[in-house]
Amino acid sequence: MSFTALWPNKALLWKEWMNTSVIAAFFVGIITYVSSYTLLNEILLFRELAESGNSYLMTFETHDLLWHMANKAVVALGSILFMIALAAVMVGQERGHNTFDLLLAMPYSRREVIYNKFLFGFGLLLAVFVLNTLIMTVLIAVNPGIDFPFGIADVWTWALRSVLVLGFVFAFTLFISSMSGTTLGNGLLALIFLFFPIGMTSLIIVNVEFLHLLNDHRSVDSLLNTGMLLTVPTYIMGSHVFEEYNPTYVYGLLFLSTLVLYQLTQYLFARNHMENNGEVLMFSRIEGFFKLGVAVCFALLVAPIVMHRWDPGIFTAIIVYLVVGVSFWLLVNGIINWRRKA
């Protein structure tokens, strides 16, 4: 891997903006709405009550805005989905319309094209959060009379966490997109794998409890905690990660893993053969792993549901797991082959 200097390219960044402006605008709107706009509204309401001498009625309902300096789950999920959509579209659209053919025939290297995609996503993130944080800082600073339940430092922490987590999500989706050939594939696979650790641990717990293999609640809890720890998107929803671990390390680790994802994405795109565009999976070698993963996950998910009404013996249970697993393996196999033919 070479580390030759890469510069922001005006034409490429402008092109990304043209192609994603709708998603980007929605993202800016949502973040601004839940942060600066909501804070401003609360302040105006407080002022109104203060003028009529009823300020004691005002308890700062920051639930709509920031919840213990973390995002409400719905907001967090929304912003994560937008980030995934942004990255998925940025790559999926180029593949879908064969515009990589156009770009790569231009005097741009693959590295440069991908680099500017990252730059655009991170630029957007930084712009949105820095702008809103600045606005909120000013709003808090010019209203010393109000007893805000959070300080300026908290706002900046919120922004830093959001940028790092959403940046990770964005990088992760681009990484997945370097292996998947369609916008929908990019988005769904990213979503699945981002929530995979918590999903998988939950599945394991459900199955373990279903089969009465484990009755020790402490190990179940620690398993669940590990699952949460590995599920980065939960970090911006009031995760305990920041209380249990030194935040600096968490930030550092997030930043580092984002860098690693960037390098991996560059590596995969450099080896990417554009002729596979449009297939669900771009690299045939990961196909086996992918099918196996789907089969195992769905076996763990579906088998307990199928068996929950009766109490099967271990032998019957194994057969049900196998049947479900094999069926899903065949299903995925069929879908991949069908896409390939179409």
């Binding site: 034409a11 043209m18 192609n19 319309h97 231009m106 290297s109 053969h273 045939s284």
Partner: protein, 299 residues
């Protein structure tokens, strides 16, 4: 100048391009022909850096296209189908090119815009194939190319536009010394415009020579005799094909045409004349001579 050295391209197990070596000199036009599925588009996309070669390299003016993509700032490319961002308007596409290519010429652009009148406000998704091609020609000539790579540039154009585009290309070579690499199955276009022609067949370039050489080296002679021509004469290695109808022999000769003709005169022909061979015939005979079955070069 374009140099292609030992270029190979594999798609999984199958070899799409095999050991391709070509050299297109500056200011010349190279024509690539071949039936559909021969690998023309694969070759062109590999030259342009869209596809990565499995082995070998492509040099433009001595610089490796895949290692050093900036060399493409003076390479124009008209693909077989123009892929544009569907949400873009014509003027957005123009902007993207203008910002991308450092040698972009507004003057040239204005000049060509008068020839191809394209609606600047039109969305890409609504442009016809012909209009996309025209836009591609317009954009890729305005970037002041030193090298132009064209994949069936005249397909989807009406005859008037087709002629116009070819005229512009020819003028480009004459005026700016541009090097052109063109894939086509329009043989008559090839003949007028190309210095050299290569045939791509099953991933290999079968031969690469000037059309004049090709035409001079292969002739069809029609001769009538009272008697029969001796077998050993007809088995000469230069004779590719013999057809006989009554007294009239049609003989396709490759190389040493004059020698064969002189010898034919010894057999006192009642009639001896050269028959014009179309380029297609020439290809067919040449390929046949190499043991290739040749179909559908003119698809």
């Amino acid at each position: 100048m374009i140099q292609i050295e030992n270029l190979n391209k594999n798609y999984g197990e199958s070899q799409a391009l095999q050991d391709i070596n070509l050299r297109v000199e500056q200011g010349s036009i190279f024509g690539l022909v071949g039936p559909n599925g021969a690998g023309k588009t694969t070759l062109i996309k590999t030259i342009m850096g869209v596809l990565l070669p499995s082995d070998g390299r492509v040099l433009v003016d001595g610089r490796d296209v895949h290692q050093d993509p900036t060399v493409k700032s003076r390479v124009g490319y008209v693909a077989d189908y123009q892929n544009y961002y569907p949400g873009f308007r014509v003027k957005d596409m123009i902007r993207l090119y203008r910002q991308t290519y450092p040698h972009w010429s507004e003057e040239r652009f204005a000049e060509l815009s008068r020839i191809f009148s394209l609606p600047e406000g039109q969305k890409m998704a609504k442009l016809s194939k012909g209009m996309r091609t025209q836009l591609a020609v317009l954009l890729n000539l305005s970037l002041m190319p030193a090298v132009l790579v064209l994949d069936e540039p005249t397909s989807g154009l009406d005859p008037v536009l087709r002629r116009l585009v070819l005229n512009i290309l020819v003028g480009e070579v004459a005026g700016n010394g541009t090097t052109i690499f063109i894939a086509t199955h329009q043989l008559n276009e090839l003949e007028r415009t190309c210095d050299h022609v290569g045939i791509l067949h099953e991933g290999r370039v079968l031969f690469d020579e000037s059309l004049e050489q090709m035409k001079e080296n292969i002739r069809k002679i029609q001769a009538a005799f009272d008697g029969e021509l001796p077998e050993e004469f007809l088995k000469r290695p230069e004779i590719l094909k013999v057809e006989r109808q009554g007294r009239v022999y049609s003989i396709v000769v490759k190389e040493k045409v004059d020698e064969v003709k002189a010898e034919l005169l010894n057999y006192k022909p009642l009639l001896l004349e050269d028959i014009d061979l179309s380029l297609e015939d020439i290809f067919i005979y040449r390929m046949g001579g190499l043991g290739y079955e040749f179909h559908g070069i003119v698809a």
